[in-house]
């Protein structure tokens, strides 16, 4: 991707101006503007980082440092759906690796790879704070699919292939289910 091709539209620049106005310095807006860029391009490859740096008038090194610090920024092109499979302790105990291997199997790729059709990327991640509903998968820095079983994973992949994202679910810890049920009845 040649650098000159990249630019923000007036609309995006407006949005960026609004973001900048919320912070005392342009530097402080780096995170938010990286998001604007990632939303637009689907990643923040070096050229995109350079665009952000230029737009905010910051050193490229700084933007690069920030982008590389956060795993949520994709430093290379990823699939349309990025499946973050948690294999940290709780999820691991509840079958996180089974979920991972099942996904790898069904998509024919390994963790860290992207399918040829550009639809899916799979990666192993550490705890996403959803231990109570383990095992789980996060989809493209967003929605969680929780309490996964083999069937649920297949269904999830099926839905995603048809462009259907899972709904956000409000979760309740299993040990609290009874109490809440009793209270609401």
């Amino acid at each position: 991707m040649a650098e000159q091709e990249l630019h923000f539209t007036d609309e995006e620049l407006n949005e960026i101006e609004k973001i900048k106005a919320k912070f005392p310095t342009a530097k402080a807006a780096t995170l938010r503007v990286l998001w604007v860029a990632q939303k637009k391009y689907g990643h923040v490859e070096p050229e995109v980082q350079a665009l952000v740096a230029k737009t905010l008038d910051l050193p490229e090194s700084h933007v690069h440092g920030v982008a590389s610090f956060y795993t949520q920024y994709y430093k290379e092109e990823m699939g349309k759906f990025v499946l973050d499979v948690c294999t940290c302790l709780s999820c691991q105990l509840c079958g996180g690796y089974d979920v991972l291997h099942q996904i790898e199997d069904r998509l024919g790729i390994k963790a860290g790879e992207t399918t040829d059709d550009g639809l899916f990327s799979v990666q192993e991640v550490e705890c996403l704070g959803a231990c109570g509903y383990a095992p789980m998968v996060q989809i493209t820095n967003g929605v969680y699919a929780n309490n996964l079983t083999e069937e649920k994973v297949d269904k999830l992949l099926e839905n995603l292939k048809n462009g259907k994202m899972p709904e956000f679910e409000s979760m309740v810890m299993r040990q609290n289910e009874k109490r809440i049920k009793a209270a609401t009845e």
Binding site: P46, Q49, A53, S61, H64
Partner: protein, 578 residues
């Protein structure tokens, strides 16, 4: 006056002080890595921990509260404090590792943590011997490590730029290098990438660390993570000998150290001088060591037929020189001093030929407009332009110099590559008998009829006046064929110098240049000519200058050494020159 109590001693202080710097200023020690006196304080290495608290004062009476033994009560801060970022307050109590076991333990634990993923490859690391991490681990660190799992691996041998190589595994992420590019050189070329145990400094993708001051990061890196690509694996620091000197590659006169081994200068590093260069120097100045080692004029040479020069003996050189002088009247001799040579050399040369009836020496400054950066790189490419001015040499522009040369029958040039820097063409020198006093075999020396090899800044004690009018001096660092560091009390001796004999394979004669200090040669020439002229040492010349020329009043080597150079009054001079 506000008071603090450090390791049970009372100190008074005025103004704002951070505990660490204050402690260091008292000549005591607390280990630290990320702190640097000329940069911001991020307090990220956590090595400088001390135990700190405050004597409790009664707000109403202003009296200190006492315990049952009559001792002042202390309210300790709840946690260990990083002393680099701890501002002194009246009545503060600080215990360093010397008096507090807790502080000692905190420092030890920090070191254990810093070393978890450190490769501990000191035996093959360039920094060994001058490594704060190594030194402080020996002094304050744990005996061993409890972390026996596999270490995290990171990139090695990364060429960050043309002059700096990174070993990311050795990095402790103190951010000194990053802050240097942000705060001192202001190129912002470095950042820390990634996080946790995987982070290390890096440039933005597709960018090079080509900062003109990049090698300062090598000096301030407290570990062996950033190394000089040029100096890597050349020598262990303890084999070298360190001699203070002055950067001669531009007009700033950065204070430097010359690092020699077996009379070769292997590297140049900056030496702190608040009034000139603080802790820094431009990368360019560091490659000057090549000038001191390579392509030197060694043993006189003379043009016998056509343009072929060949080496000759000192006796023959003196004889030829003397005959040339005797064959011409003073008016026919043009003496060209040099902003690239020292105050003493310019003065000695000028005086010598004045005695023989030649008119005042000329010199032409070596300025490249727009070359400087307002920091340590200057338009002026020579170390002693102001020195020549203060000595009242005749400042001449290129054109007038060329005319003067064409009129002269004999032209005497003091180490200045006039041909190389395009003041004159080699052919311009063809019609006059040209004698060069040269440190290096430059185009000018090669075009000369007689070349007298003289000592360079690395071989003599001499002074230079920088663009701001500060006079500073060098020390001999490298032996010539005729000097001996064991006899010359001005020269320092490294370990290998001290224990080496001619029968050791690390000692060789090769690196000693067959040259003389200009004044020594002039003594010999005076003797042959029967001229009443003799100086013992550059020190004597300077003494003479200081009594003869008001601008140099009271200037001595001793005073320069004590005060890291002396500020001369340049204004004085300008009035005189008009």
């Amino acid at each position: 006056m506000p008071e603090v109590f450090i390791d049970n001693e009372r100190y008074e202080f005025e103004g704002d002080h951070m505990a660490l710097q204050f402690i260091l200023d008292q000549g005591m020690e607390v280990p630290f890595f990320c702190y640097h006196p000329s940069m911001s304080i991020p307090a990220n290495c956590r090595q400088c921990m001390v135990k700190a608290g405050q004597y409790i004062k009664d707000d109403e009476t202003g009296e200190y509260e006492l315990d049952e033994n009559g001792e002042r009560k202390i309210r300790w801060f709840p946690k260990m404090q990083t002393s680099c970022a701890l501002k002194l307050q009246d009545g503060m109590v600080i215990q360093t590792q010397e008096t507090s076991e807790e502080a000692e333990r905190a420092q030890k634990d920090t070191l254990e943590l810093l070393l978890i993923n450190h490769p501990l490859d000191c035996p093959i690391c360039d920094q060994a011997g001058e490594c704060p991490l190594q030194i402080q681990t020996y002094k304050y660190g744990p005996e061993g490590s409890r972390f026996e799992v596999k270490k995290v691996h990171k990139p090695k041998r990364v060429e960050l730029g043309p002059r700096v190589t990174l070993d990311a595994e050795r990095c402790i992420n103190c951010t000194r290098c990053v802050r240097f590019t942000e705060e001192i050189s202001e190129t912002n070329q470095l950042t820390i990438v990634s996080r946790g145990d995987k982070n290390y400094p890096m440039t933005a993708p597709n960018q090079e660390f080509d900062d003109p001051y990049s090698m300062n990061t090598v000096d301030i890196c407290p570990v062996g993570a950033l190394t000089s690509t040029d100096f890597r694996f050349k020598a262990r620091v303890w084999e070298m000998n360190q001699t203070p000197s002055i950067d001669i590659t531009n007009g700033k006169g950065c204070n430097i150290d010359l690092w020699t081994r077996d009379n070769q200068v292997l590297r140049i590093t900056p030496r702190q001088n608040k009034a000139v260069n603080d802790y820094w120097m431009p990368d360019e100045g560091r490659s000057a060591y090549e000038l001191f080692n390579e392509n030197r004029a060694s043993r006189p040479s003379i043009k016998l037929d056509g343009s072929n020069q060949s080496n000759t003996s000192w006796n023959n050189a003196i004889e030829t020189f003397a005959e040339t002088i005797e064959a011409h009247s003073g008016d026919d001799v043009l003496v060209i001093g040099s902003p690239h040579a020292s105050v003493e050399e310019n003065y000695a040369l000028n005086k010598f030929f004045n005695l023989l009836g030649a008119s005042n020496a000329r010199f032409t400054p070596h300025i490249i407009d727009g070359y400087g950066d307002g920091f340590l790189i200057t338009d002026d490419q020579a170390p002693n332009t102001n020195g020549c001015r203060l000595l009242n040499l005749n400042e001449t522009d290129h054109k007038d110099l060329a005319t003067a040369i064409s009129k002269a029958k004999v032209c005497i040039i003091l180490s200045d590559n006039l041909v190389g820097r395009k003041v004159v063409a080699a052919s311009d020198l063809g019609n006059t008998y040209t004698i060069s006093f040269a440190t290096n075999m430059t185009e000018t020396a090669k075009a000369s009829d007689l070349v007298i090899p003289i000592t360079c800044v690395a071989e003599h004690a001499a002074s230079y006046v920088n663009i701001d009018g500060r006079i500073q001096r060098s020390f001999p660092a490298k032996e010539t064929k005729y000097t001996n560091r064991r006899l010359n009390l001005e020269m320092s001796e490294g370990r290998l110098d001290r224990y080496g004999t001619n029968f050791d394979n690390w000692v060789s004669e090769e690196h000693k240049v067959d040259c003389l200090p200009l004044w020594d040669f002039l003594n010999k020439l005076a003797e042959r000519l029967g001229l009443d002229y003799h100086v013992n040492h550059s020190r004597t010349i300077l003494a003479e200058i200081s009594s003869a020329i008001p601008s140099f009043e009271n200037v001595t080597f001793e005073k320069m050494d004590e005060q890291q150079g002396i500020q001369l009054n340049l204004d004085n001079q300008k009035i005189k020159q008009k």
